[in-house]
């Protein structure tokens, strides 16, 4: 009797040990899947793009040609389009997001903070295709009717930068795409900045206020220096988003494989090119070139995101250590 009981007990204990080991393996395996997904993406992109790299070599990166008929592909136009639109977006989004985050953390009356912050969080979740549709049907005509002619008339004549701003009022183009991207990225960057600003210990801010500092001085000389790296990290997260964004850009960029100095002219971005052409690619080389574009996009965003996470992590550590 006692023996069977003891046996059963040890059985049960062994069951627990086996269960523990199984569970741990299962959970660890799932965690490994996460890492494998990222690694697999990088490797399959590199493998899928090998034909394009073999056929065009380094010229792939600097050639502006995109000729599906004669099978000559170069990535320069989409690369430039991606960088320029993301740059315009960040130029607009960073100051605005900073202003909103400042408003939410330091300026707004307490009752207004939570609802506005919640609204911005929610809006960050609106699918990008909605931004794209709005851009195509509402914003592009508005740009064509109101903004583009003004830009062309007033900025197009400027000495050095004039070429950037002169062009026909098409509505579709780099400038429109950049603005739509900015609108998309604003809620995203804002909510990161807000969270980061909230980590500043209130005794730091209160000491500054007690010395007679104004709200702006507290923001600029206490909050920002304390959170600088994390703020840059948040901006980089937004940049990663802007670089990789597909749908919002595809609608309003105009899908034109031409390199022009003017921001009012249609262009193309890496993500938009892939989205528009991948299912229509009729040869292996064509498809491989598109995958190679995907690899470039992945590499660039990877670098940007790693930088962003490293900078954000440092603040977390600081908070943990304090």
């Amino acid at each position: 009797m006692t023996a069977t009981l003891a046996l059963r007990k040890s059985d049960r204990r062994r069951d627990g040990a086996v269960g523990d080991r199984l569970f741990r393996l299962l959970a660890g395996g799932c965690a490994l899947l996460v890492a494998l997904a990222l690694l697999g993406t990088a490797l399959t992109m590199a493998w899928g793009g090998r034909e394009a790299f073999a056929a065009f070599g380094w010229k792939f990166l600097v050639s502006t040609e995109w000729d599906a008929v004669n099978h000559h592909f170069g990535a320069l136009v989409p690369i430039v389009g991606t960088l320029v639109t993301a740059f315009i977006a960040m130029l607009l989004a960073v100051p605005v997001s900073f202003g909103i985050a400042l408003f939410l953390v330091e300026v707004a009356p307490a009752w207004l903070r939570a609802p506005v912050a919640a609204a911005i969080e929610l809006l960050a979740g609106i699918p990008s295709i909605i931004y794209g549709m709005w851009g195509l049907f509402v914003f592009a005509p508005f740009m064509a009717a109101k903004v583009d002619p003004w830009v062309d008339a007033h900025l197009g004549g400027l000495p050095v930068v004039g070429a950037l701003f002169s062009g026909p009022p098409l509505g579709l183009g780099m400038l429109t795409a950049g603005i739509v991207l900015a609108i998309m990225v604003i809620p995203f960057v804002t909510s990161v900045m807000r969270e980061v600003f909230l980590t500043v210990p209130s005794r730091l801010k209160e000491s500054a206020y007690a010395l007679g500092a104004t709200t702006w001085e507290v923001a600029w000389q206490v909050v920002l220096p304390y959170t600088r790296q994390a703020v840059v990290g948040g901006v980089f997260l937004g940049l990663g988003r802007a670089l990789g964004e597909t749908m919002a850009v595809t609608f309003v960029l105009g899908n034109a494989h031409e390199l022009t100095a003017s921001l009012l002219m249609p262009g193309n971005s890496i993500a938009a090119t892939i989205a528009n052409e991948f299912t229509e690619a009729d040869s292996e080389l064509y498809r491989s070139s598109l995958i190679a574009l995907g690899l470039l996009l992945f590499a660039v965003t990877f670098v940007v995101l790693v930088a962003a996470r490293l900078m954000l992590r440092r603040l977390e550590r600081k908070r943990g250590g304090a």
């Binding site: 490994l32 330091e106 506005v116 549709m133 195509l136």
Partner: protein, 290 residues
């Protein structure tokens, strides 16, 4: 002499006050500016969407140009692929998050996986679509709803991993010690005690992941492709609302545009409601705990 220093400090004071007022006005204007665009976008979607909304939207198939129709097959496709994606992504994500929080909280490997997960969280979704194309669609030789669901699962996965990891880390250690001291094996402690305690957070994470993937377009373009007809076959191309919106909005036909707006309204309303519901659920269960 004395009066002049006074005016200097007074000037300084005024300048500081002025700069402060300027900054505050700027931050207020920035907030109004940011909210203005978002309100404009929502308003446009609402007005155009309601104009095109009718019951046929939910009962008829996507039409060829010039004919009346609805989005029934696309709605079903979106639902089926999102459900399948969550069915794949949520368990894997919860287990991976559990491993991070319970077995690898301070280890190097855990830190590395956590880092990679953060990268995956913001990786461009179109690239994940290409990845699934390369591993599933190309070997199989055809587009399929299953490939679409897998691409969506890859987007949902890091969101679930992250929230699960964070929520389990918030569970007090006393809970683990108390359960272990009863002689429970660790896996049972995790499943019966820790998961239950962290459930509101984990469910919220899964709901947010669902909200995120139900509007995703780019990864579906070359995995699930599109389908003009009703299908429930996971091995065949399947329509989805976002891809149908993309196809219809880019077309030159007015009635297709109307359908695209109706689809946009449905998707936006669903995503926003889900976001509100997820936050409300988390808030409510936190209230109950305190």
């Amino acid at each position: 002499m004395n009066t002049s220093t006074l005016t200097v400090s007074e000037r300084l004071y005024r300048r500081r006050r002025f700069r402060n007022a300027l900054a505050l006005v700027f931050s207020g204007v920035a907030t109004v500016f940011g909210l203005f665009w978002l309100a404009w976008i929502l308003w446009t979607t609402l007005v155009n969407g309601f104009g095109a909304l009718d019951l046929h939207l939910f009962t008829r198939m996507t039409p060829p140009p010039g004919e009346a129709g609805g989005l029934a097959n696309a709605l079903f496709g979106s639902f089926a692929m999102s459900a399948l994606a969550i069915a794949i992504g949520a368990p894997v994500g919860v287990l991976a998050g559990t491993w991070l929080a319970e077995y690898a909280r301070r280890s190097r490997l855990g830190e590395a996986v956590r880092f990679l997960n953060d990268i995956l969280l913001s990786a461009p979704s179109i690239v994940l679509g290409l990845f699934v194309y390369a591993i599933l669609v190309k070997p199989a030789g055809h587009f399929s709803a299953f490939a679409g669901a897998l691409a969506l699962a890859l987007i949902a996965l890091p969101i679930v991993v992250r929230t699960c990891d964070e929520m389990l880390q918030l569970v007090p250690n006393a809970m683990r010690e108390a359960a272990l001291s009863l002689g429970l094996p660790q896996w049972k402690v995790t499943v019966r005690v820790l998961w239950r305690s962290a459930r509101p957070g984990i469910v919220t994470g899964i709901l947010l992941a669902l909200a995120r993937i139900s509007g995703e377009t780019a990864p579906l373009l070359f995995t699930a492709l599109n389908n003009q007809y009703w299908t429930a076959n996971p091995n065949a191309p399947m329509a989805s609302v976002p891809v149908a919106i993309f196809q219809f909005a880019m077309s030159p036909y007015d009635d297709w545009h109307a359908l695209a707006w109706a689809g946009a309204l449905v998707i936006t309303a669903f995503v926003l409601l889900l976001g509100v519901a997820a936050r409300w659920y988390l808030h409510r269960s936190q209230m109950a705990h305190d």
